[in-house]
Structure formats: structure tokens, C-alpha cells
Amino acid sequence: MSKIVAITGAGAMSECMRQINPDVVPAFPITPSTQVIEDFSQFVADGKVDTEMITVESEHSAMSACIGAAAAGGRVMTATSSAGMALMWEMLHIAASMRQPVVMSLINRALSAPINIHADHSDSMGARDAGWIQLYAENNQEAYDNLIMAPKIAEHMDVRLPIMVCMDGFIISHCVQTMQLEDDNKVKEFIGEFESTYPVLDTQHPATWGALDLQDYYMEHKRAQHMAMKNAKDVIEKVSTEFANIFGRKYELFESYRLDDAERVIIAINSVCGEIKEVIDERREAGDKVGLLKIRSFRPFPYEEIAQALEGVKIVTVLDRSESMGAYGPLFVEIRAALFDEPEKPMVYNRIFGLGGRELFMSDIHDIFEENKTYLETGKVEKRFDYLKVRGG
């Protein structure tokens, strides 16, 4: 039965995994994703699922085992963070290129060095070219809902790509929020049975997986992957509509918050969007035409849709919670690319914030709206790229 529960973000992920009851879960502990795996291990121990777990000796082996298990012909899930995903790096690409619909909860955490356990997006943004679908979430409910939809998107025959469902470490993973936990059977029914393609365990039709692929074929396979990722955009929308019809919560590729008549807009990802919405509500009360565009699907990236949603907007502040040293933030780059062909482009600039878990308060978000107001009035972006709240800046 569907019910309201008070639960951490990580707890929501493990509950969802319990409901999905995947065939195999290879996993290795790393802060702050550990609770996902610990809870799930208890579900296995208590017989609440009949999943086979593989408690591997590293994240590299976790993703390797995920690929082997998925290719064998069943549903596979795992969870990780930060350095854990960095160690998976090679295998992330291989999972995607071998078209295995592995589902992973990624609890976003900063990469070392300096070692830091708190939220930023350097892990998932660094993996943006790995060929995984990336969905992001503002809160527990969204992360949970994304994870329910994840297998259905990844396993769709037009897609067959791995998917990572991301949320901010600690801010979401460790904070208790209330959310709607859906009925077990309804979740199972929504996801349905896993459909395998050329499974390794089919000895009657032996397949060769992971062949050497040279100049004469490699590029066609890469292009096929790209097409699958493009297909994923439609599939995400389709699955999100099905989800809304059953569970009542509707998600788009991105969320437009008070965007219709907005002149000044922030574009951001994950938990900071909750605060931004609060600030927007306050400012709207005072008649300030501000809005938020919150990214849900970063891969595939909805360029045309975002350009359309920003029509009439005069200035955009793109907040990146990771950076690409010597370049603009990864989200900023995509947004500028999305807007380049528009006849009337808004002013766009980039702010890096929240690295290693540094807080961004509501007052800081007010400051952003004050700054972009000045930029708009003067018609000049004083600083295209800058850091928020950093010493020596």
C-alpha cells in the first residue's frame, strides 16, 4: 500500500531496490552511498528480497560484475559515490558500450584531493561522456521516483543503456524527508519482467560478447550508442508519462519553475533547487520576475527543449556544482550550446558553487538574483565566470 514515510535519501534508494528485487546486486561500500548497500544487505538477510548479492573487493570489480551479470541475462543494480565511481571509470564506458542496462544509484560526492566526503557533482559530471543516462533529483521523492523509472528507461529496447540516478550526498542521502513510498506490487508491476538480449547464459545460441572491434566497425558501434542515447530522450518522457498516470507525479526532462514570464533565471541541478524555489517564491511575492530551470536529464541533454523554455528570458545564471579546470562549468557549456542558434539569446554567465559540500544559503541565492538584476540593467556581464563564496576570490 502506498504510504507517506519519513526516510533518508539513501534509505529511499534501498527501499526502491527492495521493491524492484533485482536478480543480482554487486556492491562495495563508500560514503555517502553506504546506507543503500547496508539496508539492502539486511533485506537479503531477512529474506525480503531473493536477490543474489556479490560483496566485491572494489568498485572496479562491482561494475565488472554488474556487466557480467547483466550480460548473463538479468536485472542488475548497484550504488556508489565519488572515488568509487572514479575507480569504475573504465567499466562505466564498457557497461554503456556493451549496452547493458545496469541501474546505479549515484550519491554525488566530491572527488579527492583534498579528500572530502560531501556533495558536489565532480563524480557524475566527470562521467558525462561515459555513455550513461544521467537523471538528477532535488529531493528524496524525486530520487526514489527516478529509481523506479530507471530500469524501465534503461531496459527499453530502443535504449539498452545503463542509467545513473543521482542525488546530493548527505544533503539528500542522509537527511530525513517525508515522501510517498509506493505500493510494492504497483512498483513491480510498473517495472515488469526483465527482457534479455543475447544472454551469455543462452548456450543454445552462443554469443561472443566484447569482441575486438577495429577501424572497420568501431565507429558504427559508437554511432549506434549515440542513437540509443538520443532515443532515451523520448523514452524518458514516455516512461515519465506512464509513471504519472499510475503514481500521480509528473516529471519532465527538466523542471520549469515559475518560468513562463520570468526575465531572470537560474539553471541548476539537484538539492540546491529546493532553496532556489523558496527564494523565487519570496521574490515573486515582491513582483520580481525570476524563475528556475532545474535539470533532470543531463544525459541525454535536451538542447532544443531548453532553448524553447528559455524564450523571452533576458538573463541566465548557470550554477555548476563541479568544474572543468581551465574551462567553464559543464552545465554552462551545455546551456550556451543550447542557446547559440536562437535568434534572441539571453545573457548567460556561470557561477561555481558548493564544491566539497559548501553551503549555499537562501541569502546567497538572493545575492545571485541581485547580481543578475544589475547585469541586466547595465547590459553587461561583469564576470562571465566566478566562484560563489570562496576565500581569496
Binding site: I54, S64, G68, L214
Partner: protein, 316 residues
Amino acid sequence: MPSLQEMAKKEGAFAGGHRMCAGCPVPIMTKMLTRVTNGYEIVAGNATCCLEVASSIFPYSAWKIPWIHTAFENVGASMSGVETMYRALKKRGKISKPYKFIAIGGDGGTYDIGLQSLSGAMERGHDLVYICYDNGAYMNTGVQRSSATPMGATTTTTPAGEQSYGRQGNRKDLTRIMVAHNIRYVAQASIHDPVDLSEKLKKAIELDGPAFINLLSPCIPGWKIAPNMAVELARLGVETKYWPLYEVIDGEYQINYTPKTEMPVTEWMALQGRFKHLLKPAYSDVVDAFQQEVDRNWNRLVKQEELSVVLAGYAN
């Protein structure tokens, strides 16, 4: 166990037309492997290695059984995934036949970069036979040293030169490391003895749980030998006690072959271009050290076998 003649008549699930070097023993082993697996559905996994690249050039494949390769350092882990999915689907009634799983890697992918993944797979107890074909260097990438490279061998990253006699120090003894995993079956085998090898493959496959076989596999370009010399060099490797044939079953050591006559290891080394420089008198100390290491390993093995007999007596 069928006779060799009978076995040779079986087709095997590894087709010709692959691109392994002429004279390489690895395809012989692979074909033999697919002939001794009666009664089971067999799934094979490969680390990136010579066998992998030469058997699977898209759109062709030499494999007539299901086969998976993902990367260099992880066949232990990727096959853990395959084997676990088998158990998951069996438990859920989606599969009923008995399956067996085999992982194959070279010494680079097994002794070195894949050691952690192998160790994890063995420790967790997957029903997996891991076969390492030890040719003593990274042959696939052009003969770079691995931790399995014997002392003094010239490789492209330990070249012999004015100031170097080649690979410094002793090689790693991976077979002993695998014994320390307390798995049910560990063995060393050689390509020159097909009866011994096929029996070992069969034993490893038939028992439940992890098993490890380390196979001496002379390499034509890496050892700088003629294509018709691989089997002979495997034989001499065993005769000189460089590569003892032995098994460790449930912790008990058994030497499978004791050479009839004492033969210095130089008899084996002299036929290989990779040791040619060592035959100069200036390097006699290196050759002596090599021989001492061979003797030390053999003597330890004999003691371990004796100890196993004593311990078995206590157990009884």
C-alpha cells in the same frame, strides 16, 4: 576419462581460423578445455590477452560456446557476475541445466593487473575455474615484463644491456598465493602433457567452487623460439623443475611428476633467445641465482607434499 585419441576426435568449441601465432600452445589448451566439459553447459570469460584479441576480431569469433570479455584486469569479477546471475536465475526457476564457468587470462592479466579481481572471485567462492596461461610477460602488447617474467629474461621493458642483465630478481609465485586462498583446487600444468592437463581441467570443472590452474605456456615471439619448439620447451620447463607439475586439493599437496634425471635449468634457458645474453660467463652469478631459486622452490614443494602426508595421517 576418454583416451587422447578419442578426445582428439571430438570437435571442441574453439574453431580454427583464429589469429594466434603459429605454434602457440594456448589454442591447443583452449580446444582441449572445450573437449573435457561433458555434461555441463559451459560459459567462458576472457581477460584482455592474446587469446582474447586473436579469437574475437569482429565480426568473427572462434568461440562456439558463450564467451564474454570486458577488460584486462577483471575477468575474475566479470565472471563472478555471470556465475552469480546463473545462481540467481536458477533460484528463480528460470534456468535448470547444470552450468560451469571458466575464466582465462594471461600472466599479465592474472599475476599483475587482475590479481585483486582474481583474489576476490576465489575468496568469495564462485563456482569458477580460472586458467592462467603463463607465458612470462605481456606478450600481447609486445613482450613487456610482468611479475611472472623469470629472472634475467630480456623483455622490451627489462632489456638486457651494458648495465642490465634483463629482468631483475625473482618472479612471483602466484600458484602459492592461490593456495593461500584455501580454495578446493589449485594446480600447475603444462601444455606438453595433455593427459595431465586434461585431467586437471576436468577435476577443476567438476568440483563445486573456485579452482585455479596455472599453465606454463611458451611464447614463440616472447621467448624468441621457433614455432615448432613450444611443446618441447614446456617439457623442458618441467624436466628442469622450473615448472613443477603439482596439485593442491583441499590443501593437500601432490607432486604429479618427478623428473627422472637431474637436469640444470640452463638446458631450458639455452634454447630461448630471451636468455641468450645470460650464457656469457659474466652472468654466471645470475644463472646460479636462477638455479638456486628453482631448487629452493622444488625443495619447498617436496616438503609441502611430505607435510601433507603427515597431516593427512593425523586427520585419519
